[in-house]
């Protein structure tokens, strides 16, 4: 727990949330463009990278939104992974028979069913949240495999894969995209970098991506600006107090966890229905549900924060995919620059130990960058996982976790 710090007079503290987010975005772009300039790796800020990042970040973003809803209502949801797996199968099945939108709906429905199962176990039967989550991950995998065997095998001849399904059309803001492309090609410092990153975000965007991005402010609005949201969050902070005020805690938890499953199922659908993504494929979720949960925790259980987290992991994943080992090394260099900024901030705030830790971390990263020309190719695909651990280790102590998270609650019992 962080104590209120009387010496914290820096401007960052008093800025409103959106301004701080914008500030961090500027810092991130500054760091990336400096790193890409100094290491001569334009891929760090190319439109390809940001486009891949958007595609890879989407499932993580949706899983994170799912995690947000459940955890804000006080239910830990490790089962996101299993619900996403159910979503991938559902969406492939729906899309094969009824087109993309039916696929999306089916994906959401399957995830929702997984969420409901979690709610029954956790809310009604007071099962330990993590136990139930692990069981749902097992079940999700088993059910999806079983159904794929039953339904897809006769069509595609392969129990591990669905037949090819329709994908979402993509839309580009043509004028903007062309103009940014021209700017990117000019290779001017900073300007071209920003243009490259932005261009990836306005080119070949699917409706699903727009919906997912809109879900972030929508979740904020529902959870923080409506009566229903206040009640839902009160179940996560103190269910007994909520009950004493006449809130139906069971109902709100059920809705929250079911919605959480629905978002996770949508995340699964985004793996199947996006251009460039695979059709249903066994093990395609590959831990993205967990990474989404990590992104949400990194984002301090806030919608804006989880957007940042998902962007970070999507970016790390997109970069390793499009740039390989050399690009990841350049990212290490970028991290050194970022740590330098953080160290300066910590010194201004007189947090000597944090600053020392930052210097040590920067030294290690720089050493990795300096001594290696190429990282081992076997480890490159796990860049997002490494980033997750490092980021959580740095960020975890500032978190404001919902108070009653993971606690068991029964109506009429005072715990």
């Amino acid at each position: 727990m962080e104590k209120p710090d009387p010496t914290a007079t820096t401007s960052a503290r008093r800025l409103p949330g959106w301004a701080r987010g914008a500030l961090w975005a500027v810092v991130a772009i500054g760091v990336l463009s400096t790193a890409s300039y100094l290491t001569d790796m334009p891929i760090l800020t190319s439109s390809d990278t940001s486009q891949t990042a958007l595609r890879l970040g989407l499932p993580i973003l949706l899983a994170a939104i799912g995690g947000l809803w459940a955890e804000r209502a006080g239910v830990m949801n490790i089962g996101l992974e299993g619900m996403m797996i159910l979503g991938t199968w559902g969406s492939a099945w729906g899309a094969y028979y009824g087109g993309v939108w039916v696929g999306l709906a089916a994906g959401i429905l399957f995830g929702l069913l997984g969420g409901l199962l979690h709610a029954v176990a956790v809310v009604t039967f007071n099962v330990n949240h993590i136990v139930s989550g692990v069981a749902i991950n097992l079940l999700g995998l088993g059910v999806a495999k079983y159904l794929a065997n039953l339904v897809f095998e006769p069509i595609s001849g392969n129990p591990r894969e669905s037949p090819p399904v329709e994908k979402f059309d993509t839309y580009s803001a043509t004028f903007l995209s062309d103009w940014l492309g021209a700017l990117e090609d000019e290779q001017r410092v900073v300007l071209s970098d920003v243009a490259g990153l932005l261009r990836g975000l306005v080119t070949h965007v699917s409706p699903l991506a727009m919906i997912a991005l809109l879900l972030v402010p929508a979740s904020y609005f529902v959870l923080w600006r409506t009566r229903f949201g206040l009640r839902l969050r009160s179940c996560g902070e103190s269910p007994v107090a909520a009950e004493s005020l006449g809130v139906n805690v069971y109902l709100h938890k059920y809705i929250a966890v079911a919605a959480s499953g629905g978002f996770a199922g949508m995340g699964g659908a985004s793996l199947v229905l996006l251009e460039g993504g695979a059709d249903y494929l066994e093990n395609q979720v590959n831990g993205r549900g967990y990474i989404g949960l990590a992104a949400m925790i990194f984002g301090n259980y806030r919608p804006s924060g989880l957007l940042g987290g998902a962007a970070l992991f999507g970016y790390a994943d997109g970069l390793q995919l499009s740039g390989g080992g050399a690009a990841v090394l350049a990212l290490c260099y970028g991290a050194v620059l970022l740590l330098a900024v953080i160290v300066v901030l910590q010194l201004v705030r007189r947090h000597w130990w944090a600053a020392a830790g930052g210097v040590a971390g920067a030294a290690v990263l720089y050493w990795i960058y300096w001594t290696n020309d190429e990282l081992p190719s076997d480890l490159i695909p796990y860049t997002p996982h490494f980033v997750t651990i490092i980021v959580l280790a740095v960020a975890a102590q500032r978190l404001r976790v919902p108070k009653a998270i993971g606690q068991q609650y029964r109506r009429g019992e005072d715990t």
Binding site: I78, A121, I130, A135, L141, N286, G287, A393, Q397
Partner: protein, 363 residues
């Protein structure tokens, strides 16, 4: 004293419920559930299936013990998976490289395995204790990363050897192997079964007969209460995580030292997750875990026989998932029923007058 009804009824209920549910799934897919269950039962008596089931159960038992130690301290060591694979690959490399006299060689390999399992659990333990990072997330990430580490270490550029089409570590010399127990026609039982049984006893002894075990359990029940009694929750978390990781390090050893002698890219995965389920089934009790491990191994082995009569083998996975979920639900239902029965009993004993506080009545 153990209450047999509360201990045995829930798993039985769960198994029945899982059978019912998978019957529904089987009926939907147009298969006869009775046929399926009969095939699953009958396969035990063919060839060496029974012994290979027990062999698999030994592996699951170790994984279950590893997970159970974490559960006792309320630590969710989902990382058993990563820890055992990391330990297996390191132990296989070191074991293949070492030249030692027979017994010493085995002991050295086991020590390496325990140490590397604990090492892989060290990072999440430290992050949990000093940075407050949920061990669930970090261990899951490390579970994924271990794929990369195994691939990296088995790469011929590092320590790997190419056998035909399969990459693996150097073969461990005969001095470093654990001989099996031959059972004639039925097959060969892993010699590791002795060590596993000893570990199970050690686990029981540690929890129920030592001060450390008491402190571990107390701290798991209530951190604040234990802290008031002078038990540091940090220390206990760290200890539970490291011991759990150390035991996890042994998970792959029965197969490595008793059958395979090399660790290959294609080595079976997923023992760690099974361990979690098995520990839940057995309620963290060593005998219960053994039962859970046998059941799980039986379901896994029977999946193969289902394929032969044209039923998708995933039905076994569905049964496993259903059993885990319904066993925890069943424990809760039985607990509630017991509680209600207790309240009725107390109510009756009062003969009409309100029960006193000592008898469980309201204050």
């Amino acid at each position: 004293m153990i209450n047999w009804r509360t201990a045995l009824l829930p798993p039985a209920l769960a198994i029945v419920f899982a059978m019912l549910l998978s019957s529904v799934a089987l009926l939907i897919s147009g298969a006869n559930p009775l046929d399926a269950f009969a095939t699953m039962g009958a396969q035990l008596f063919h060839g060496n299936t029974a012994v290979s089931t027990v062999n698999l159960a030994i592996v699951y038992y170790l994984a279950g013990l590893a997970a159970a130690i974490g559960f006792q301290m309320n630590v969710f060591n989902i990382g058993v998976e990563g820890q055992y694979r990391f330990a297996a690959v390191v132990a296989a490399i070191v074991g293949g490289w070492m030249q030692l006299p027979p017994v010493l060689h085995v002991v050295a390999i086991l020590v390496v395995a325990v140490a590397s399992g604990a090492l892989y659990a060290l990072l999440p333990a430290l992050l949990k204790v000093y940075r407050g990072v949920s061990e669930v997330i970090t261990t899951i990430m490390l579970n994924s990363i271990v794929f990369g580490i195994v691939a990296f270490l088995i790469n011929p550029e590092q320590f790997g050897v190419l056998h035909g089409n399969n990459l693996s570590t150097e073969e461990i010399a005969p001095s470093g192997r654990i001989p099996g127990i031959p059972l004639g026609e039925a097959g060969t039982l892993f010699g590791f079964v002795v060590i596993a049984a000893a570990l199970g006893y050690g686990y029981w002894f540690m929890l129920n007969r030592t001060r450390f075990g008491f402190e571990l359990k107390a701290s798991g029940e209530s951190k604040t209460a234990a802290a008031a009694g002078g038990v540091s929750a940090r220390k206990m978390t760290l200890a539970a995580m490291l011991i759990s990781g150390g035991v996890a390090g042994l998970v792959a050893m029965p197969e490595l030292l008793g059958r395979d002698y090399v660790y290959a890219m294609t080595a079976t995965q997923g023992y760690g997750f099974t361990g979690l389920a098995v520990a839940l089934l057995g309620r963290n009790h060593p005998a219960g875990i053994a039962f859970g491990a046998l059941l799980w191994a039986f379901l896994d082995r029977s999946a193969v026989s289902l394929e032969s009569i044209g039923i998708p083998s995933e039905i076994a996975t569905i049964m496993q998932g259903t059993i885990v979920l319904s066993v925890v639900v069943a424990y809760e239902i039985v607990r509630r029923a017991d509680l209600a029965a207790e309240q009725r009993r107390v109510g009756r004993a009062g003969n009409g007058r309100p029960a006193s506080v000592a008898e469980g009545g309201a204050v």
